[in-house]
């Protein structure tokens, strides 16, 4: 939230903010890319000198001086003179007055025709769209320059005619580009919302959809501008553009070519002018693309990452439970995960727990509290930019954090299985499901292809995929969400891991299917005796399958307890509030308890006071005095300094 300060703007000028955001990104991109900056400066120079040509040009571009033909560069004539003694620099500057407007006409026609056509056919769709796209294909297949020459041939030499023709041809590209954006945006809920509100179709096209397409259009326009400059030069070079004595970069090249025997240097200035200007337009286009188009997609990610860019809290890890249990599979000790450059921002802060055989621990909390980061940290699958800052993860007596990446690869999939929320995204659409379940068997257990396949079928049968031997040949798209999650479980269990990490495995499923998956997991757990870490935001699911629970808030464990204890007597106000917000907790229609505010971004998590205090109705001065430690209260662990007091308060109510 604190990402960008709320802009203080008067009514009436709000729409400028949207462009402000884009402008800021563009400026930042050009600053960070010297080549693009150089291109922009050159383009600015060409434009400015062209506009003010009569004042900045040292000479009249057409003033002949036959006494000074083929003069090389000198103080008088910086770029020399041509065969008629005309000053090359002046001609070059004045030629800009031909090239830039010509290219602008071309781009203007292309955008003016292409964008509205693309918007309209993309939105209307159906037959119109199909016909228009075939026309676009045909137009794109036409050789532009040849057609322009034909038009000039028919209508007489005129640069404008030629550029309009070329612009018309280029409009096909703009139509296709715009249509693509429209197709992507058209199905978005906000467009449906605009229709329901009663916005007219032109309004939806130009005010709702077009702003989403502006980035790509601007980029395409810049690149088209470069092409148009080249076309103009080419036309003038073959004598179909501007007519002598008017100067154009192309016609200057023609003159130079005829005089190549007398003065080879004549070709250099116009050649360089064309080269540099076209190159500049391309560089500008590329920079705009990275600022406007790619920036658009990664903006969310960049924004989130930037939230993490502050100093981390440094709390010494300490051991909590010194009673070792002989049957424990996993011990996590003081796990801390940071994001961003060192020291970074701590997003998982000092998480400690242990897990025995056949035991399941639930990890709950709102999004942004570090649940998934904890799970991913344990198997060292953190996203780029995140890393484990300190702690120990001991699986079967071996510290996973001390292993090399290679050793870790053999742990994942063999000793630790994983299932995620989105089974569709976790399976490769190009391989049959039997293939994907047998892969870990071949990789980790060294089974032959045939052995692995028959074992995979057994596994698919074990996860109750109906007709497993036939369906093993199916591809992911042929299965429903629930069935895919069964396949994921089969793959995760292929090597009989000691630990299964399940990150929101039933969130995307229908509730009846969710029930079956939970049953399946419970059954497999007792059969195979594996331990399970179950990350979920759904407290009901946690009550269903877990033996104990970690409640996380702002990167910390705020409560840790056996499942019955946690739900019957929550010891931390956050846990209690989470339970009360559920719709089943009050009479229908009655007001649900709410936790005021929201989880703050990681960069603003305090390190010297209770992190939940701002949202807690029980908070008092003592809560903001120091960071409460995770301490035992009647069999549970809680991070609330007033746990006993607040329990009494609740009891009195």
């Amino acid at each position: 939230m604190s990402l960008v300060p709320a802009p203080e703007v008067d009514a009436g000028s709000q729409s400028s903010i949207v462009t402000d955001h884009a402008l800021r990104r563009v400026v930042r991109t050009f600053r960070s890319q010297p080549l693009a900056m150089a291109g922009a400066l050159w383009m600015a120079l060409v434009v400015v000198t062209a506009i003010f040509a009569p004042w900045v040009a040292p000479d009249d571009p057409n003033a002949q001086n036959l006494l000074h033909v083929f003069a090389g560069p000198s103080w008088h004539h910086l770029l020399g003179t041509d065969n008629l003694g005309r000053d090359t620099l002046s001609r070059l500057i004045f030629a800009g007055r031909v090239a830039l407007p010509a290219a602008a006409i071309g781009v203007g026609v292309a955008v003016g025709i292409g964008v509205p056509v693309g918007l309209a056919v993309g939105y209307v769709g159906g037959l119109w769209d199909r016909v228009a796209m075939r026309v676009v294909d045909a137009v794109l297949a036409l050789p532009g320059l040849v057609l322009a020459i034909a038009v000039v041939g028919a209508l007489g030499p005129s640069l404008d005619h030629a550029m309009i023709t070329l612009g018309f041809l280029a409009s096909a590209g703009f139509a296709r580009l715009t249509r693509g954006v429209v197709l992507a945006v058209r199905e978005q809920p906000y467009i449906d919302g605009a229709r329901v509100v009663g916005e007219s179709t032109p309004h939806i096209l130009f005010r709702e959809i077009l702003p989403n397409a502006l980035g790509p259009i601007v980029v395409q326009a810049t690149l088209a501008f470069a092409h148009m400059l080249l076309f103009e030069a080419a036309l003038s070079f073959i004598g179909l553009g501007v007519q002598p004595p008017q100067a154009s970069w192309g016609s200057m090249l023609t003159d130079a070519r005829s005089q190549i025997g007398n003065d080879a240097f004549l070709a250099v200035p116009p050649g360089m002018a064309i080269l540099l200007t076209v190159l500049s337009a391309q560089l500008i286009g590329d920079a705009l693309r990275s600022a406007l188009v790619r920036g658009r997609e990664s903006r969310g990610r960049a924004a989130r990452a930037s939230r993490w860019r502050t100093r981390a809290a440094r709390v010494a890890p300490r051991s909590l439970d010194s009673q070792p249990r002989p049957d424990r599979v996993l011990v996590v000790e003081g796990l801390r995960v940071s994001v961003g450059t060192d020291p970074g921002v701590t997003v998982v802060d000092d998480v400690t727990f242990e897990l025995g055989r056949g035991e399941t621990i639930g990890v709950v909390g709102e999004s942004g509290c570090g649940k998934s980061m904890t799970a991913l940290g344990i198997i060292r699958l953190l996203p780029t930019g995140a890393r484990i800052a300190s702690g120990q993860v001991i699986l079967n007596g071996r510290d996973l954090l001390a292993l090399t990446d290679r050793q870790m690869d053999s742990v994942r999939g063999k000793e630790v299985g994983m299932i995620f929320q989105d089974p569709k995204g976790s399976l490769d659409p190009a391989f049959s499901i039997g293939n994907q379940v047998s892969e870990p068997l071949r990789l980790h257990l060294g089974l032959s292809r045939r052995e692995a396949w028959s074992r995979a079928v057994e596994l698919l049968d074990q996860v109750k995929l109906p007709r497993a031997s036939e369906r093993a040949h199916d591809y992911p798209h042929q299965l429903s969400g629930g069935q895919l999650q069964r396949v994921m479980i089969a793959a995760a269990l292929a090597c009989s891991p000691d630990l299964l990490i399940a990150d929101e495995p039933t969130t995307a499923l229908d509730v009846t299917v969710q029930g079956k998956i939970l049953d399946l997991l419970a059954e497999l757990r007792s059969e195979l005796g594996m331990a399970m870490i179950f990350v979920s935001h759904d407290l009901g699911v946690v009550a269903d399958i877990c033996d104990k629970v970690l409640v996380m808030y702002a990167g910390q464990v705020v409560e840790s307890a056996a499942v019955d204890e946690l739900f019957s007597t929550p010891r931390h106000p956050y846990t209690q509030r989470l339970l009360e917000t559920l719709p089943g907790s009050v009479m229908p229609g009655a007001s649900l308890a709410r936790i005021p505010g929201q989880v703050p971004p990681a960069e603003s998590w305090p390190k010297d006071r209770c992190r939940f205090a701002d949202r807690c109705e029980h908070a008092g001065p003592i809560c903001v005095g120091e960071m409460p430690s995770l301490r035992p209260v009647e069999g549970s662990l809680t991070r609330c300094i007033r746990a006993e007091e607040f329990r009494t308060v609740e009891a009195v109510r």
Binding site: L3, V4, A6, P7, G12, Q14, S15, I17, V18, V124, Q188, P189, Y190, D192, A194, R195, V196, V197, G198, E199, S200, T201, H203, E208, L214, R299, A303, E366, S367, S480, G481, G482, Q483, D510, V511, T512, V513, Q514, G515, K516, L518, D519, H537, L539, G540, V542, A543, D544, V563, F567, L579, P583, G584, P588, G589, L592, A593, R594, I595, Q598
Partner: protein, 342 residues
């Protein structure tokens, strides 16, 4: 007539050719009274979202009649239906997708005010800020782009936009599904409060029957494009009479480990012996492949909605047996379900 929404025999078909023709909604009827909430539940693919889209004029029904506030719904093709916008509005699931990412939240809120109230720029800005206040969004928040707001804030803005033309009906399509529980509670409370203030009616579409039960006055349960049970919210949720409704209710995990252990066995029994996500059957009862009560009648005869109580209809041949079994905590007999499988 105080019905804000009347849907009669609505059928929606996707795909024109014979191949790939899908009947998304099949002869569905429902009514919503002023100031009340009708909750529509069902699993993904049951057609509940399509009902909402048809009510808004976003899909063209194959047959049937939809009246919003007494007037027929016009399909929103290319011509804007301004009058319709005054009657029915919408809140979608995806909190970021419901607002245009390239426009300020304020500009999105001003749109309905410009169209329906014909407000000029300054007046619409003030009105939009007042709307924002109603959903607890400060003016500073409105001057941001959607990606700079949290999911809950976006959803509150979407609700403000929907309420701007003071509609009689708002279709809420999974409005809280993508939100955290704490935010979900805020949005639900907001919807309930706004209903009390404005007497707006909601068509509340969700797969989460516990949320639906909380907000609804009446509940309809959809399966395979059909309404299989409909009635007063408390009687549908306390004495569910369709095996599918029973399975849905039993499958909702409750945040109480002791109770959940009991519910687990019931869930198992009611979910049916058959394949978990078996496709709906064609001919006869669509639920028969998943139903523990299936017999030969279910294969032949498609059950029609019939009363089982006051304002409580169910489309099941064996509703009475199912209810009895539901009351005695003992689950349905095992083994019966398997006869009609495959």
């Amino acid at each position: 007539m105080s019905s804000v929404l009347v849907v009669e025999d609505l059928t929606v078909v996707y795909g024109r050719r014979r191949r790939g023709r899908v009947v998304a909604v099949d002869r569905l009827s429902l009514q919503i009274e002023e100031g009340t909430t009708f909750g529509l539940v069902g699993e993904s693919g049951s057609g509940k979202t399509t009902v909402g889209r048809a009510v808004l004029g976003l899909v063209r029904p194959a047959s049937g009649r939809i009246l919003v506030d007494g007037g027929p719904v016009q399909h929103l093709a290319l011509r804007a239906a301004i009058e319709q916008g005054k009657k029915a509005q919408v809140v979608f699931q995806d909190p970021t997708g419901s607002l245009n990412p390239a426009r300020l939240v304020l500009d999105t809120l001003r749109e309905p005010l410009r169209i329906h109230e014909r407000l000029k720029r300054d007046a619409s800005t003030r009105a939009a800020e007042a709307l924002g206040e109603k959903v607890s969004l400060a003016p500073g928040m409105l001057r941001r782009l959607p990606y700079q707001l949290s999911g809950g804030q976006n959803q509150r803005a979407a609700i403000a936009r929907a309420l701007a033309p003071t509609p009689r009906l708002v279709v809420c399509d999974e409005p809280v599904t993508a939100l955290d529980v704490s935010t979900q509670a805020q949005v639900i409370n907001l919807l309930v409060d706004l209903q009390r203030q404005t007497r707006v009616a909601y068509l509340f579409i969700s797969h989460d029957i516990s949320v639906v039960r909380h907000v609804s006055h009446r509940i309809g349960v959809m399966y395979a494009g059909r309404l299989v049970e409909v009635g007063d919210a408390s009687s549908v949720s306390t004495s569910p009479s369709h095996p599918y409704t029973q399975a849905l209710l039993a499958a909702v995990p409750v945040p109480d480990p002791a109770r959940q252990r009991e519910r687990r066995s019931r869930r198992r029994a009611l979910a049916g012996a058959a394949v978990d996500d078996a496709l709906p059957a064609t001919g006869g009862c669509p639920y028969r492949l998943r139903c523990p009560w299936t017999d030969e009648v279910c294969q032949r005869v498609e059950p029609q909605l019939r009363p089982v109580g006051e304002d409580h209809l169910v489309a099941c041949h064996h509703a009475e047996r199912a209810v009895l079994a539901g009351q005695s905590a003992e689950p349905a007999p095992a083994g019966q379900g398997s006869t009609a499988d495959s």
